[in-house]
C-alpha cells in the first residue's frame, strides 16, 4: 500500500506579539499539533505576510508541498499568498488549507486543525 502523503502545518503568529494570539500558548499549541496530529511536520513562522515570509514561501513551496496554514482570515491569506503559490507552480485554492486561528484558546485552535485534517482524510487518533 502506498504511504499517504501528509500535509505540513504552518502556524503564523503575527510576530508573536499579536493580541489575537494572546489567549493561546503558541508553544504548547504547536507541540500538540506536531505530536498528536497526523501531520508531516508543524512549525511556527513569525510573519508570513511580510517580505521574509514571501521569500520563505518561495523557497519552501518549491518542493510542491501542500500545506495547512493557521493564521488570520482565510480570504486575506488567499490574497497575500496567492502569488507565492503561483510562482511555485501551485494553486492556493487547491494546495493550501487556510484557517483562521486568531482569538482562540489552544483547545479551540487544536480542534480546528484536527477537523481540517479529518476533512482531508487524515484521522487524528489512528495509530499506525
Amino acid at each position: 500500500m502506498e504511504e499517504k502523503e501528509r500535509l505540513g502545518f504552518i502556524m503564523c503568529v503575527c510576530t508573536g506579539k499579536c493580541p489575537g494570539f494572546q489567549a493561546m500558548d503558541i508553544w504548547d499549541f504547536i507541540n500538540q499539533v506536531r505530536v498528536e496530529l497526523p501531520v508531516e511536520y508543524a512549525f511556527i513562522h513569525p510573519q508570513l505576510c511580510e517580505e521574509d515570509g514571501d521569500r520563505f514561501l518561495a523557497d519552501f513551496l518549491k518542493a510542491n508541498r501542500k500545506v495547512i496554514i493557521g493564521a488570520c482570515a482565510p480570504n486575506m491569506q488567499k490574497k497575500m499568498f496567492k502569488q507565492a503559490f503561483k510562482d511555485a507552480g501551485l494553486d492556493v485554492e487547491k494546495d493550501c488549507v487556510m484557517l483562521d486561528i486568531r482569538d482562540m484558546t489552544n483547545e479551540k485552535a487544536f480542534g480546528i486543525v484536527k477537523d481540517a485534517l479529518k476533512k482531508l482524510g487524515f484521522e487524528g487518533d489512528e495509530e499506525e
Binding site: 489575537g20 505576510c49 511580510e50 482570515a73
Partner: protein, 97 residues
C-alpha cells in the same frame, strides 16, 4: 495590552500603524472587519467615520488591513526607517546581546 515591547523596544517608541487617506476611503470598513486588535475605531456620527484609535495595538510590520482595502486608502511608515529606528533604540539601551 499585555505585550508592550518588540525586540525589547517599548512598543510606544515604535511608530507603526495605519495611515488612512481620507481622500480615498469610502468607509466600507473591510479593514476594521479584518483587524482584531482594536487599532481602528468606527464612529458613524463623526465626520471621519474611521480613525486610528490605538496605534500601539498594531502589530509591527503588519500591513494586512491595507491589503484588504480595495481603494488603497491605507499606508504605513517606511519599513527600513522603522527598522533603523528600532536598531538605534536597541543600541542606545546597550542591548546588543
Amino acid at each position: 495590552m499585555s505585550e508592550s515591547t518588540f525586540m525589547g523596544v517599548p512598543r510606544d517608541r515604535i511608530d507603526w500603524s495605519p495611515r488612512i487617506d481620507y481622500t480615498k476611503c469610502n468607509y466600507c470598513m473591510e479593514c476594521v472587519e479584518f483587524c482584531p486588535h482594536q487599532v481602528l475605531e468606527v464612529n458613524m456620527d463623526a465626520e471621519k467615520k474611521l480613525i486610528v484609535k490605538n496605534p500601539n495595538n498594531c502589530v509591527i510590520f503588519c500591513r494586512a488591513c491595507s491589503k484588504t482595502c480595495g481603494l488603497d486608502a491605507i499606508d504605513f511608515p517606511n519599513k527600513n526607517e522603522t527598522t533603523a529606528h528600532i536598531k538605534e533604540i536597541r543600541k542606545e539601551a546597550g542591548g546588543n546581546e
